[in-house]
């Protein structure tokens, strides 16, 4: 459907865009963040929405593929091509303005290239909270976060990226602009194009700005790391905490001993929080209104949970530094995983009640494929597990190249059988297109294809992401 960007393309665009729009060092843009593959293409960084529109109109007329590029942190290859005709890579890195803040409305309008940490700070500056939070917040950009409907640690309370967005400005493939930058809380005038664009991974158009919903900052916050006898007990603990604290439970993260063992393995200075690391732990984070004391609330929860046999030990943060230290452990696990090097990493979600069954069945099934170390952790309150499979100590991931496909299929088949999703928060990108075809509902896939063809008739937008290029076959 689409054709390659060439030196002619570059010459044409140089004639209509300022000189500083072009990136000659294409290394960061065309390298998968884990170094798994490299892409190709011309990289352009427009200054504003009008330039984005001009570029898209040009490419659409010539059927040149366009790959939108945010912070480059995606793990499913949505931000770079792994084959096919070289595209134009459109980086939003220069569109970083906070266009406006509306303190009395708890709304902020940010351009797509704004970095998440900067948006969090802009919210803080007007006394509000922008609750989207994840490990890559120092480099991930709003456009990419919305395009992939990013998750993170506060989804339990505040929802995913989709729930933080009130309105969008989007450049369509033909270069026309949808001005949907609404700050309205309610608007039932036609189809929900905002939520269609969110999570479409740049295959239907390019977001250039978003109106973001801010929330009141909780009056008091707290955290605790609790040892639990099993994943099932962890879920009961979540229900107990929610019964007592309602929406006050902001995050509820499952951690396995393997994660802490990895931290010790890659960083010998790491100090484990418990004298003897339990097999399963949860990190619970709370935010409460004025009049409730977070530490006391966590103690009450701990006591009730201990009485019910749901916790066996625990550490309640006594200061902001304590809380940061507990969170630092959780947030260091992905980097430790990367340094160990996984055979296969999954980002799955399950109906909450099926989480224990998944964990109980996955280990024995994998053991039939080979001997592995398993680090299962993640956002338990959302039913979202990062179930990552590693080589034994002394081996490397490449020793298991022949088993990788079987491991993935085993875990995805089990997820699917239990009513789960094979991509909870990372999206489809290019690396999970086959999974979507294998596990997706056929009627859903047919509707997605129809929508793609309707909104991007020339197939130029992020070709091969989410939906396969039919001409690739």
């Amino acid at each position: 459907m689409y054709t390659a960007a060439t030196t002619d393309t570059l010459a044409d665009l140089r004639a209509v865009l300022p000189d500083d729009s072009f990136r000659t060092d294409t290394n960061p843009y065309l390298t998968e963040p884990r170094g798994r593959f490299a892409g190709s293409g011309i990289v352009v960084a427009p200054r504003d929405t009008a330039e984005v529109a001009r570029i898209l109109g040009y490419c659409n007329a010539r059927r040149i593929g366009v790959v939108p590029y945010g912070g480059g942190t995606g793990l499913v290859g949505g931000q770079l091509m792994n084959g096919g005709a070289a595209p134009l890579v459109l980086s939003l890195e220069r569109m970083t303005a906070i266009r406006a803040t509306y303190p009395s409305e708890s709304v902020l309008v940010a351009e797509a290239g704004a970095i998440l940490a900067d948006v969090q700070r802009a919210a803080e500056d007007i006394g509000r909270l922008f609750p989207l939070s994840l490990a890559s917040e120092g480099s991930a950009r709003i456009g990419g976060l919305l395009s992939t409907n990013a998750g993170g640690v506060n989804v339990l309370r505040y929802g995913n990226a989709r729930a933080q967005c009130l309105g969008l400005e989007v450049v369509r493939p033909d270069g026309t602009v949808w001005n949907g930058l609404s700050r309205l809380r309610k608007d039932n005038t036609g189809y929900d194009l905002r939520d269609l664009m969110i999570g479409a991974e740049g295959t239907l158009g390019i977001m250039t700005a978003a109106a973001l919903r801010l929330v009141p900052k909780p009056a008091g916050v707290g955290a605790a790391m609790l040892a639990v006898p099993s994943p099932a007990a962890a879920l009961d603990l979540l229900a107990l905490a929610q019964d007592r604290l309602g929406d006050g439970v902001s995050a509820f993260e499952l951690i396995h001993r393997q994660g802490l063992d990895f931290l010790t393995e890659v960083g010998p200075d790491f100090r484990a929080p418990f004298a003897q690391t339990p097999e399963w732990m949860v990190l619970i984070d709370i935010g409460l209104p004025a009049g409730l004391e977070p530490d006391a609330a966590l103690e009450t929860v701990f006591e009730a949970a201990a009485e019910a046999g749901l916790v066996t030990d625990g550490i309640i943060a006594r200061s902001g530094a304590d809380r940061d230290a507990l969170w630092h452990i959780r947030e260091s696990i992905p980097e430790a995983n990367r340094r160990i090097g996984s055979v296969s990493s999954q980002d799955i979600s399950l109906p909450l009640s099926q989480v224990p069954a998944f964990i109980a069945q996955a280990g024995p099934q994998l053991a039939r494929i080979g001997d592995f170390r398993i680090n299962c952790f993640g956002h338990l309150g959302d039913g979202n597990l990062h179930y990552n499979v590693f080589p034994l100590k002394g081996e490397t991931r490449t020793d298991h190249d022949d088993k990788r496909a079987a491991v993935k299929t085993c875990l995805h088949d089990l997820t699917d059988a239990l009513g789960g999703s094979v991509s909870a928060e990372h999206g489809i990108g290019r690396l999970k297109v086959g999974d979507l075809e294998r596990y997706g509902d056929p009627a859903k896939l047919a509707m997605m294809r129809a929508i793609k063809d309707a909104l991007d008739p020339n197939g130029i937008m992020n070709p091969g992401a989410v939906l396969r290029n039919l001409t690739d076959d």
Copy 2:
């Protein structure tokens, strides 16, 4: 695009559906709820999803229009045709099952014909809250509520109907079924078809069941009716209450003296809550976690607000009966409005900070058109006003037939100029198609048309709702 349902259609369907599928008394189905116009058509009430699929497949092959019918409470004509070829009206009234409840997941799966009050009770039965709540909850059905993305009084805290839905089962126009009844909190596998179907008002397919998200019941609830000096003060009061109570503020309703005067006018037994009714009041409802006392919290808010000059008087509910009585006043206003008979009724939303400007400007602008009584009330926390214009006492709405269009245009133009929406929660239906064309962003309308054509190529689904039938022109 579509053709009329005829006696041949009826004969064909009688051959493949049980006898009790047909409705000979078509009066409720074909009458606008305020009696404003009548429709035409054949009425069929299938028992299950397979029958819905059979009916749609039949109609699609013959290009017969299909109008989905839920509780019939919509106010914008989405549930009945106001002209054109007679359609098949497909009522979901027999698909009322609660298919399953999942207490440990806080999820419930209901068929599209389940009545909202029954769903609320089913949630209550497992100790949870289904927070969608509105005046017509005794007759509105889940399919219609989701198809119109209904709002109501708890949107401020819990979001609109869209936010309560985790998954959908939808019959496509060609009779194929999308099984999207997911109970997952996170699932980033492809385009967000769920949110596209929600709010599409039956123009893209027919919802047959939904997986609904339940929430924990707050440990304690309370309510107060407070007199405020102005709409601007009401907004400051909202900010003050949210600063202190966070998410604890469940509803924040604006009430004008005119509403209470109407209650007195239509029901002389009505007892006004204040000795002297203030011009502006707010009804605030709160739900708090264990450890906080709602009455005390409301008193603290009242005292701080009084000190800041934001309230002048107030009634804090001292019992559940008190709270019900305050809510009864609010919920009686729409019926009083109906009995008075409006010249024109608007369902608009505004950026929160623009609400005072709208109220300040709308009255003087209307005064240039004629002499009216104005009842402005609604969900202030969401920026959603029901701004309704009535004849003076002794006159009737028909006395102002010549001014109706000017009143509507005046209010909608002002709404649009202030960045608002001309349909906050009622949808477009057939009565606001022209408004959508007038005020909608052209790029948005083009995308909506493309999606409609892609997902309903024969144009059979709810013809003329949301988007005009091009062949009508």
